[in-house]
């Protein structure tokens, strides 16, 4: 618990120059306005959990942060680089992606590569590491997420929970400054959710800056410095987890929480 306090301390001093800043971002899918004037900053070391109903735009929001989704107006700054509307970011797009890791709902491991090669590919091709260097790092990370004895297997030979932990190790191998999680446990069988959350918890304790989209409200309350509630493409309410979960101010937030916290 002391860790969390010190994290928040860092968060406050870094307030002046956040690592992520979305500035009046708008995004349309055809006629659908999926992100409306989104303003959001994330401080160094902060853990921000984004919640909301399906189709509220919460996944779209974090996918904009590493440029997987283009947006139509506004700007996004990530670690000092700027993403521009309509895919006009140029070189800063790849620069941002190099510093930002992402874990997907469907794991998206590379099925034609062994577990170890999944983890070493980007460090070798992007960071220019030798195979040996990259493998030393990969083996350390795989051990950290508890997969070290499976390094020579292929993704389809692993359970969903194991695959997602490999996906986490793969992202961490690039030594990202920020990690994005897009519903990392939604595709998992219930008995495998815990092992993935444990791996993420460890990352929180290491002080990683994280933006997490999840339906795991208990986990959100436990690890978040701030919870952001998104409804119909807008940030309706945000705040520390205790306040947001226990005394939601906005009726939309209240309605959403009463539905998800019942079960």
């Amino acid at each position: 618990m002391n860790d969390r306090v010190s994290n928040q301390g860092t968060a406050q001093t870094a307030e002046a120059s956040p690592i992520v800043r979305l500035d009046r971002v708008n995004k349309h899918f055809g006629n659908l306005h999926v992100m409306k004037e989104i303003d959001l900053s994330v401080a160094q070391g902060e853990v921000v959990v984004i919640i909301g109903a399906s189709g509220s735009g919460k996944s779209t929001l974090i996918r904009c942060v590493n440029g997987l989704e283009p947006f139509q107006s506004g700007r996004i700054e990530v670690d000092g680089k700027t993403l521009m509307p309509n895919g006009a970011s140029g070189k800063s797009l790849q620069a941002v992606r190099t510093e930002v890791g992402m874990v997907f709902q469907q794991f998206n491991l590379f099925p034609h590569l062994s577990i170890r090669d999944n983890v070493t590919l980007a460090p070798r091709k992007v960071r220019g590491m030798t195979r040996q260097q990259a493998e030393v790092t990969a083996d350390k990370l795989l051990e950290r997420v508890g997969i070290s004895d499976q390094a020579d297997k292929y993704p389809t030979q692993l359970s969903g929970g194991q695959q997602q932990r490999v996906a986490l190790a793969r992202a961490l191998a690039m030594e990202p400054r920020l990690m994005l999680f897009d519903e990392p446990t939604s595709a998992l069988d219930p008995e495998m959710i815990g092992e993935v959350l444990d791996a993420m918890r460890e990352l929180v304790n290491d002080g990683m800056t994280m933006m997490i989209v999840t339906h795991e409200m208990g986990f959100a309350r436990e690890v978040a410095d701030r919870v952001v509630f998104v409804h119909e493409g807008q940030i309706v309410e945000q705040g520390p987890p205790d306040r947001l979960f226990d005394q939601p101010q906005h009726e939309r937030t209240q309605a959403f929480l009463s539905r998800v916290l019942k079960h």
Binding site: L68, T98, M102, F104, K125, V126, A167, A171
Partner: protein
């Protein structure tokens, strides 16, 4: 009704040395044509799925023209027609290889397109999110998986193209069928000779099928 005709095994075996002189031509046209056709197919298949209209459009025209016309007409056009434009004759072997290359290339373009498009969107996103550039993502993530999925369709195209080379007897390439026709003109053993030719084609296509199924099985893990 009475058959005064019997299959003459001796005649069949006797024709073999002469027929086998055509084998190198059949193999050369098939494999040189398919090798070039593979490269052509990759180039046009990728142009076909390019976001740039000016790359897509020529690819569509090429694919539709070469899929929509018979390979026999294509080789006649190249061998008899093109020299009028070029002002000099074209070697029959070259014409045959070119016809296979461009004909198979059109079909392979569609195989490449289908293979690449069949890879889940999340694979590309995972590659990009790790900081790989779009070309790196294609080369290390998309292409190896697409190629594996393309193997059965490529094998099919290989077999079709090998059989298509039999049409090139009409431009006088001394491939299997042409050799057979010349032989029959002297011996009148059509039954035996065409039977042997059919066996030779079967030997080539079965070897290809076998090689590809081994390749596919080897690539199964992962």
């Amino acid at each position: 009704m009475e058959f005064n005709f019997q299959f003459d095994w001796q005649a069949a075996i006797d024709s073999l040395p002469f027929l086998l002189k055509g084998l190198p031509y059949t193999l050369l046209i098939s494999f040189a044509g398919l090798a070039i056709g593979f490269v052509v197919g990759i180039v046009f298949g990728l142009m076909r799925i390019s976001p740039t209209r000016w790359l897509r459009f020529p690819a569509v025209v090429y694919i539709e023209v070469f899929r929509g016309t018979p390979v026999l007409v294509q080789v006649l056009f190249i061998f008899y027609g093109l020299p009028t434009l070029l002002g000099g004759p074209i070697n029959a072997l070259t014409a045959g290889i070119a016809a296979i290359a461009f004909n198979a290339g059109a079909y392979i373009s569609e195989i490449v397109r289908g293979g690449v498009q069949s890879i889940e969107r999340g694979q590309r996103e995972a590659g990009l999110s790790l900081g790989l550039s779009p070309p790196q993502t294609f080369r290390y993530v998309i292409w190896p998986q697409a190629l594996r999925r393309m193997i059965p369709a490529l094998g099919n195209q290989g077999i079709v193209s090998i059989k298509d080379t039999s049409l090139f007897s009409v431009i006088g390439v001394g491939e299997l069928v042409r050799q057979g026709q010349v032989y029959i003109a002297n011996t009148f053993t059509a039954l035996e000779v065409y039977f042997m030719i059919a066996l030779l084609y079967l030997a080539i296509t079965l070897s290809l099928s076998l090689a590809l199924s081994l390749l596919e099985r080897k690539g199964l893990v992962g």
